[in-house]
Amino acid sequence: MSNVAKRQTSGLDKVLRVALYVCLLAMAAVYLAPFIVMLLTSLKDVEEIRSGTLLSLPGSIDFSAWSKAWSGACTGSQCEGMAPYFMNSFKIVIPAVAISTLLGAINGYVISHWKFRGSDFFFAALLVGCFIPFQVILLPMARTLGWLGIANTTTGLVLVHVVYGVAFTTLFFRNFYQSIPGELIKAARLDGAGFFTIFYRIILPVSTPIIVVTVIWQFTQIWNDFLFGVAFSGFDTQPVTVALNNLVNTSFGGKEYNVDMAAAIIAALPTLLVYVLAGKYFVRGLTAGAVKG
């Protein structure tokens, strides 16, 4: 009797598990579909796009849309493709990530191991910086950049990204350094090491995981930024997201969806690559940023 019951439930179990897999795979297909459509579309020519459907395969693999997106498509009045803006993004992202990560590391080190009166309060105040809608600071920041003479420059964008990225990087490093025992710092101080020596010789060498998480997080955030890019960049200093948006919304003659899609993939490629290569750290950053931010 009990045996039968067992066999029945295990049969039911099997059905349920199959359903589970079907469900999960169907969802995976849904998540993948837009990317596949983008890829397929980017490889078709305009005629194929007009006659075929989203998922119809291209007759022949044709990279002309890609080369046009990279170096010939018009973004607004210029027709140099995405290439210059892709470079702009790197010009913004690399210094901004480096500076904000370094500042975050030092801030986190101070806040967790060199507390002074008000440092905890300041940390709480800084946390708010992770949350504010940036619309609140757009206007004053635009004025400030103008005064500093770096409006519409990549330098200006680097500054903006550093200022509003430091809250997150500080949070990441602080949470990580909190788990380093204070006795380690005390021992080093007694050994005669000072503030920077301890940081450089003892703290930094054990910080690799959090540096990776932070760099990936900042890289993704800044690369994908659109708001600051559109508000504070000039014609030739636009980051890739702004250029992509312009490209898509520029209509000279017919709409070339294949070029749009190729450009979109180009704009997404660096962060996708990071995600594929270091997904573990990416997720860790997301959840760390989420749980306390």
């Binding site: 025992p181 006795e183 380690l184 005390k186 021992a187 080093a188 101080r189 007694l190 050994d191 005669g192 090491a193 000072g194 020596t197 010789r201 003892i202 060498p205 054990v206």
Partner: protein
């Protein structure tokens, strides 16, 4: 080697006073042990001595120099922490030589020093490993090595052995004692272990709530505690506190207890009992002062034999602890295991009050001297 003077040191965190005026003075080469319940401020005091935390008031002198406001690295102190605090990214050799490197000692001298320390602590074969690849005992040795390498004026040990298992702890205890005898450097050492405190210390400071209750040699602390707290804190099992009524008997003051039957015991310091005639005090008796009847002590001056009711017996190997009740208080007696005792029986016990102490019931202060 250096002496250490702590003068009226106070430490406040905001409103709360953690150290409430500490006064301790020890000679060069002395081994001072700090004991006290958790949270009483031992680590805070150690950090203040090391300069890792600023004191709010008072002075600290090392080697007759006021170091109250000098930075940790200028005090020439080494500290061994409970967690060992080894630098995780450095090898054992680098850990040991880091302090020397910071003091700009030339490389060959550093290497020689590492070798010397490694030989002394027998960790030569570990020098190339990282801390994560060491066992608890090995880490402990490396932490000691790091402290030894600099040949500082003074060592601070904050519960250095409490993360080791019992056997290793005993071994390391002996080694620390040997090291101290060999180096003769001043040591301040925090522990929760009674035996460590008794065996290692030249002097013990018993702390409670940010105050030093008593500072004295281990024997003084054990035999002559200044108050109930010290008496109860040191010794394991703890001293028994028996409520006793001061009575006059044959022209002398004596103490009346309620064992199996009412019993009167004599007390050495007669003068001190005078003000308490007819009142209750607390009589402090170490467990070894209540034993099975021992023929050679029969008839000695402060020895009385009385019947007690055995509640529980706990054989410990060398002794058997007998738990009973005297004047309503739980009392531990230390008996020879061959003395036949069983729970529920009433047996004869010998009370030796020659080294007993008396406390005021209300203030907890010591009455006799």
């Amino acid at each position: 080697m250096a002496n250490l003077v702590i003068e009226n040191v106070k430490k406040r965190y905001g409103q709360t006073e953690i150290l409430k005026g500490i006064n301790i003075s020890i000679e060069a080469g002395e081994f001072l042990i700090l004991v006290g319940p958790s949270g009483c401020g031992k680590s805070t005091l150690m950090n203040s001595i090391a300069g890792l935390e600023d004191v709010s008031e008072g002075r600290i002198l090392i080697d007759n120099n006021d170091v109250t406001y000098s930075s940790p690295k200028d005090r020439d102190i080494a500290m061994v922490f409970q967690s060992y605090a080894l630098y995780p990214n450095m090898t054992v050799a680098q850990n040991i030589s880091f302090g020397l490197e910071m003091r700009k000692v030339p490389k060959d001298e550093r290497e020689a020093e590492v070798q010397r320390v490694a030989d002394m602590l027998q960790i030569g074969h570990l020098l190339k490993r990282k801390p994560a690849q060491l066992s608890g005992g090995q880490r402990q040795r490396v932490a000691m090595g790091r402290a030894l390498a600099r040949r500082p004026k003074m060592y601070l040990f904050d519960e250095p052995l409490s993360n080791l298992d019992a056997k290793l702890r005993v071994e390391m205890r002996t080694e620390i004692k040997k090291l101290h005898q060999k180096l003769g450097t001043t040591i301040v050492y925090v522990t929760h272990d009674q035996i460590e405190a008794m065996t290692l210390a030249d002097r013990i400071a018993v702390m409670k709530d940010g105050e030093v209750q008593q500072l004295g040699t281990p024997q003084e602390i054990y035999d002559n505690p200044t108050n109930l707290f010290v008496a109860g804190f040191m010794g394991s099992p703890a001293m028994n506190f028996v409520p006793a009524k001061v009575v006059e008997q044959n022209g002398a003051f004596a103490l009346e207890l309620q064992a199996s039957k009412p019993t009167v015991v004599p007390f050495p310091d007669q003068e001190s009992l005078k003000p308490y005639l007819g009142k209750e005090i607390l009589l402090g008796l170490r467990p070894e002062m209540i034993t099975e009847p021992q023929p050679h002590k029969e008839g000695a001056e402060f020895v009385v034999t009385a019947d007690i009711d055995v509640e529980v017996t706990e054989p410990m190997g060398a002794d058997t602890m007998v738990l009973t009740r005297i004047s309503e208080a739980e009392v531990n007696c230390r008996c020879n295991p061959v003395y036949p005792t069983k729970a529920g029986e009433t047996i004869a016990m010998m009370l030796d009050t020659s080294k007993a102490v008396a406390f005021d019931k209300d203030t907890g202060e010591r009455i006799d001297r």
